[in-house]
């Protein structure tokens, strides 16, 4: 009845899945966790990244991960433009809460519909040698696509964390999440720093998108499944903490993997909600990071 290898396999698959979720949640950890910008459209940008990766992969045969990295400058520029618009329309007017949320919801919806109109509602997938391959370690079967996604995600998260901790702009970004006024007194424009940070947040979406299309076939509305997960990971992990977000993502991944294996895969999307609500109700500051 109880099979330890099956449980171990489910846990290992969950860790890899969680590592991949963290790549999607990273952009929200920056935008929402550090900058207080509720970018609900982030998962939709991830799907745009996945489709752009698909185009580069099928047209030129570029490896999906490389394609995702090639696309980052484009997404960075898009992020800066979007933040400038958001800042001019909402933050400056001081109406960021209600209108800003609805704004990002609208952007999410528009992005989805434009993708349906341009690329069609079909599922797309990419080709790479590690997709379909798998690694067998002492009876643990680890699929190559999940290993790749998790590894790239971890490199991206730790790389970005190092950059934020060790460069001038990185430290300014951390400062803007803590005290805007103090930053302004130092002679740094919070708006410019926030624009850069938001650009970085959106740039992570193109890499996360390339990982998404490696992990599973992608269609335009698939991003919705990740909104709850990504925000749950950021809130549970603690606002502004990358490590907390990573731990929370892996926790979500393991729980989902076990529920899917032992019970029914259709319940998996509900788990993020089951994690998010108690976290909010108990009003904790999450695992690590600043208070809500």
């Amino acid at each position: 009845m109880f099979d330890p290898t099956a449980v171990l396999n489910a846990v290992a698959a969950g860790v890899l899945l969680g590592g991949f979720y963290a790549a999607i949640a990273l952009g929200i950890a920056i935008a929402f966790g550090m900058l207080d910008i509720p970018n609900l459209a982030h998962p939709a940008f991830v799907v745009v990244g996945a489709f752009a990766t698909w185009v580069l992969n099928t047209a030129f045969g570029i490896d999906p991960v490389i394609a995702g990295i090639i696309l980052t400058p484009l997404f960075f520029g898009l992020g800066i433009g979007l933040y400038r618009l958001y800042e001019a329309c909402f933050e400056r007017r001081g109406e960021a809460a209600l209108q800003g949320l609805a704004f990002f919801f609208g952007i999410l919806f528009i992005t989805e519909v434009v993708l349906v109109l341009t690329a069609g509602a079909d599922y797309r997938s990419v080709d790479a040698p590690y997709i379909g391959a798998s690694l067998n370690i002492f009876g643990l079967l680890l699929p190559g696509r999940m290993l790749m996604a998790c590894a790239v995600s971890l490199v991206m998260i730790f790389g970005l964390q190092y950059y934020l901790g060790h460069s001038f702009i990185g430290r300014a970004i951390q400062a803007v999440s803590q005290d805007r006024l103090a930053l302004r007194l130092m002679g740094v424009s919070p708006v410019r720093i926030k624009a850069l940070a938001f650009g970085i947040a959106i740039a992570t979406a193109s890499v996360a998108g390339s990982l998404l299309i490696i992990v599973e076939p992608v269609e335009p509305s698939i991003g919705r499944d990740f909104i709850g997960r990504a925000f749950a990971a950021v809130v549970l992990g603690g606002m502004g903490s990358f490590n907390g977000m990573l731990i929370a993502s892996i926790f979500l991944g393991i729980t989902e993997s076990i529920v899917s294996d032992m019970w029914n895969p259709s319940w998996a999307p509900a788990i993020a909600f089951g994690v998010l609500l108690p976290t909010l109700a108990l009003r904790g500051g999450g695992l690590l990071g600043r208070k809500l």
């Binding site: 528009i110 909104i227 709850g228 319940w267 998010l276 909010l280």
Partner: protein, 299 residues
């Protein structure tokens, strides 16, 4: 008035009028309900589809067991959604509004997972509901549904107008403008927010309860369609969120345009237009059409 409507109904030979009328009136109820929480209180609900679909599916389930009259189904569906609103609100409304909004978005996904796994109401394959041919007062059943929705729309608007001009309404406005200050002045913020959530969610459930009879076949992807949530948010924002007639203007305008566009152009383009109009209004005219008209009158 009632007799006049009834007589007018006898003259209409084309059922299509009632189909369109129902859709427009349903959105008046949804937009007004959303605005009680979103416009008056400043808490954005993305889970309209969840409250709406819970009303619809509770109605499917109860109808399968007892076949009660439609008004009773509406009351039951509304109560179910109101209770979900109460539970959600109690868990998340103590925090900043952003967290409530994200929770409502997640609620829609969970509710869809629950309904998809609930085989009694058809699960993922959907539920068929037999629509009676005639309503209880003569005329077709669609005509009956349309008038029922008309009464609900009128009720919702009267309720919203009543709230707007009451002490409760001023309390909600105080929460929207500065929650901390409202709390400090002794406004019972949590109780008022819960009241607004329950009323708003309940009305959405009531609007959803007759849906199974209107569509005759209901499956989770259509009941939880994101376009319901987008439309419901777009309508008050386009019309103007500060007053009771803003959502009504937005609902009538957007839903009639969509009904017309549905016949002429594809439904994806149709949705794109709603999205663009919504974002356009939020960025350029944050007070909606009502705000534009007022500014013009002020000179």
């Amino acid at each position: 008035m009632v007799a006049l409507l009834w007589a007018a109904g006898r003259l209409v030979t084309n059922e299509y009028v009632f189909f369109v009328g129902y859709a427009v009136l349903q959105y008046i109820v949804l937009a007004t309900a959303w605005n009680i929480l979103g416009g008056y209180t400043g808490y954005v609900n993305f889970g309209t589809a969840a409250f709406f679909a819970i009303g619809a599916y509770v109605s499917v389930a109860v109808n399968k067991l007892y076949h009660p009259p439609l008004p009773l189904l509406i009351v039951i569906g509304g109560t179910a959604s109101a209770l979900v609103g109460l539970a959600m609100g109690y868990l998340t409304l103590k925090l900043r509004g952003v967290f409530f909004s994200i929770s409502t978005l997640a609620l829609a996904i969970v509710a869809q997972a629950v309904i998809t796994n609930w085989s009694f109401v058809g699960g993922s394959s959907g539920a068929y509901v037999i629509r009676p041919r005639f309503g209880p007062f003569g005329g077709s059943y669609i005509e009956y549904l349309c008038y029922t929705m008309l009464i609900m729309a009128a009720g919702a608007v009267v309720l919203a107008r009543g709230i707007e001009r009451s002490k409760t309404g001023y309390g909600l406005a105080a929460i929207r403008d500065d929650e901390g200050a409202a709390e400090a002045y002794g406004v019972p913020t949590l109780r008022l927010k819960l009241l607004a959530t329950v009323l708003s969610g309940g009305l959405m459930g009531m609007a959803g309860a007759p849906l199974p009879f209107y569509v005759a076949y209901l499956d989770p992807p259509s009941a939880f369609n994101l376009s319901v949530a987008v439309n419901t948010i777009a309508m008050p924002l386009v019309g103007g969120t500060a007053t009771w007639f803003g959502p009504v203007i937005g609902a009538v305008l957007l839903s009639t345009v969509q009904q017309a566009a549905m016949v002429t152009i594809s439904s994806a383009v149709n949705l794109l237009i709603v999205g663009l109009v919504m974002v356009g209004f939020i960025t350029l005219a944050p007070n909606g059409i009502v705000g534009l008209l007022r500014r013009r009158r002020a000179g």
